[in-house]
Amino acid sequence: MITRRQLIKTGMAGSVVLLAAGFLASPQPDLPAASQGRLVFLQAADAQIIRSLAPVMLGMAGLALDDIVRGVDVAIAHLLPAVQQELRQLFDLLGNRWARRWLAGVHSPWAQATPDELAAFLQRWQQSPLLLLRSGFQALHALINAAWFGNPASWSALGYQQPQQVMGLLP
């Protein structure tokens, strides 16, 4: 949980929004999705958010969502504790049903939200006048894209491959 004191100390432009979220945030997340196997950082509810958003963010269907969730988890595990803490706040916020509804504008729980609803949320945050919401969008964008395009399974659709003349010579 974010304490008011922490929020005030972040001193970011737009922290007012998070402050409001701090009041809203209560320990009642949406129902957690089915278990994801062993994740280091992401909790079940966070994983569901990634599962719901990834196809809309990437504009692709039929994605290996478990791989993307795991990729996001690994990526976050390598970040600084201070950055992880910010991401914790972001996921807690999105996982909170009031914040989801009023800050993200997504009315159904993440698992049930329609692609249109999710796209509208992403666009609202992407284009928000508040820096903090734009940075929330950017964090999700970077994590999901890194998780997918870092995965060799994504490459054939791009027509990308590593240089064959050297790959066979690597240990």
Partner: protein, 531 residues
């Protein structure tokens, strides 16, 4: 056949290398010269001092990774070799910063472009900051020496298609341009320099000066983060430094500590890194961390009719300095044009937009051509760069506000890049901004660029060139070190890395750091051997 790994062989042959993660107790070490950080500045300094017979110890926060670890795989390379997994950001998150964090520092992952410091930059430092000793004639022998050491020479192979588009665009628009010299020996022209060079062709510190120092009995302690410098009781010198040993994941703490006693300390943790250590040591002073520069970079992507495969081939071989010279040095920001290598992960993360539009672009990856413009910050009176500060847990953060003078440069350089890409035959062009989309003509792109709102986290801004924050000066109160990197207050502390520059360089900085480091290190060598 598999590729040779001379650095791993050297370690196996008994070089003095310690891995912080493997230590089962606290370490107490001593040496003549402690070098903190093993990048461009630290690597060069280590070799000069070790060759002179001094007992040198290098301490590096990152791990020792060698060519056998370099698998041309972004998802492996970024967490292992970069600060914050290649996602370090400025305080408002508007600029993504690439910096190395491994033995060899950023030189292990850099793109091998080698430029001497532009003479106008050196002249400006003379006039403006009293650093006349660093004039082009005085620096020439140090550039010669660095170039000889690192095989820096003209690149004889044809540019890859990504670079050729830049060249053709410059020709079509009548912009002055040239070919880039590179620090490589026997390069395979693969294009994966940013993930560590698997063939050891890139003459980074990892394969040149660091082995050179280790062969001269220097020591290396990797996965060890210096937390603070230790001042002596007199307040005028340092006793050494202390820090934490890092776990095998490269980030967690093992709970083990290390302390090093040294006659002399060289801070070479890079821009952001070196000021952070000073700040954590409460050796701040008003100037520390101030005027940190980035060469903020903006980007334009083009869909070309022909295959470009910007992921293959030497990443940067063509440049244009045309717009570095179209206005006064301290006027509206000048910009340098180059191209980046384009690999899926970094491209996916860097591309603006989401959903079907960005998927459509990613699926044309082989046809994607990308130009970047590097803005020359730190000369215009309103371009004061950023400030390094510490988070509560002691980790550094760079606060770099984007202001009007920068945004003006952003817009002008977008216009140039888009026009150039169309002139070189692009089918469609899109500058990287959250409200831009692919346009099919120069006219339409121009109209779009002119109305894009210039705001952080709408325009994509990135940087791979962090400089400044512990500036050289001719007067103690105006900077942190003198022109040889000697700290103005602490007599046995030098700073020898990219943090000493009083402005940005106005060209990719590695060779500037090498030359400055060689000059500073020879001076230090003579002083230590006398003393």
């Amino acid at each position: 056949m598999s590729l040779p790994d001379p650095v791993a062989d050297g370690v196996a042959s008994g070089w003095r290398v310690l891995d912080g993660a493997a230590q089962t107790q606290d370490l107490q070490l001593s040496c003549d010269v402690l070098i903190i950080g093993t990048g461009a500045g630290g690597g060069m300094t280590a070799e000069v001092l070790a060759q002179a017979g001094l007992d040198v110890l290098m301490v590096e926060e990152g791990a020792l990774r060698t060519s056998r670890d370099f698998r041309l795989l972004e998802a492996k390379a970024y967490p292992e070799l970069y600060q914050e997994s290649a996602s370090r950001k400025t305080a408002d998150k508007a600029i993504n910063i690439l910096q190395g964090r491994t033995v060899g520092g950023s030189t292990t992952v850099n793109w091998t472009s080698a430029f001497r410091t532009p003479p106008e930059t050196l002249a400006w430092w003379g006039e403006r900051y009293g650093l006349q000793g660093l004039n082009p004639q005085a620096m020439a022998p140090w550039f010669d020496l660095a170039e000889a050491r690192l095989g820096i020479a003209d690149w004889q192979t044809d540019p890859n298609p990504n670079n050729s588009v830049l060249e053709r665009g410059c020709q079509a628009l009548g912009l002055k341009h040239g070919r880039i010299r590179r620090n490589v020996r026997g390069c395979w022209n693969l294009g994966y320099c940013g993930m560590g060079c698997a063939t050891n062709a890139k003459q980074s510190m990892l394969v040149t000066t660091i082995p050179g120092a280790l062969q001269h009995r220097a020591g290396l302690l990797a996965r060890a983060r210096v937390d603070r410098l230790l001042p002596a009781a007199d307040g005028k010198t340092l006793q050494g430094a202390e820090g934490s040993l890092l776990a095998a994941d490269g980030h967690g703490l093992t709970g083990r500590k290390f302390a090093v006693r040294a006659r002399h300390v060289v801070l070479a943790a890079g821009a952001i890194g070196s000021p952070a250590i000073l700040l954590r040591s409460q050796l701040g002073g008003a100037q520390v961390g101030r005027r940190t520069f980035l060469h903020p970079v903006v980007v334009s992507g083009a869909v070309m009719p022909q295959r470009i495969e910007a992921y293959n081939g030497a990443p940067q071989t063509v440049y244009s300095d045309h717009f570095m010279h179209t206005q006064p040095l301290d006027g509206p920001l000048g910009y340098k044009l180059e191209v980046p290598p384009v690999h899926p992960l970094l491209m996916g993360v860097t591309l603006s937009g989401f959903g079907a539009a960005s998927a459509g672009l990613m699926q044309q990856l082989p046809h994607l051509q990308v130009v970047l413009a590097l803005l020359r910050d730190g000369f215009h009176p309103d371009s004061q760069g950023g400030q390094v500060r510490l988070r509560q847990d002691g980790s550094p953060e760079l606060d770099y506000p984007l202001n009007d003078v920068l945004w003006d440069g952003v817009r002008r350089s977008w216009l140039t890049m888009a026009e150039l890409q169309f002139a070189a035959g692009a089918r469609q062009v899109q500058v990287l901004h959250e409200q831009a989309d692919l346009q099919s003509s120069w006219k339409a792109t121009r109209a779009q660029i002119l109305q894009l709102p210039l705001k952080p986290l709408l325009a994509r801004v990135v940087s791979a060139h962090v400089m400044g924050g512990a500036a050289m000066s001719s007067q103690p109160e105006e900077g942190v070190v003198d022109e040889y990197g000697r700290h103005w207050q602490l007599r046995n502390l030098s700073i020898i890395d990219g943090s000493v520059f009083p402005t940005s360089i106005g060209a990719n900085p590695q060779l500037s750091i090498y030359a400055f480091a060689l000059r500073a290190a020879h001076h230090l060598r003579d002083a230590l051997n006398r003393g």
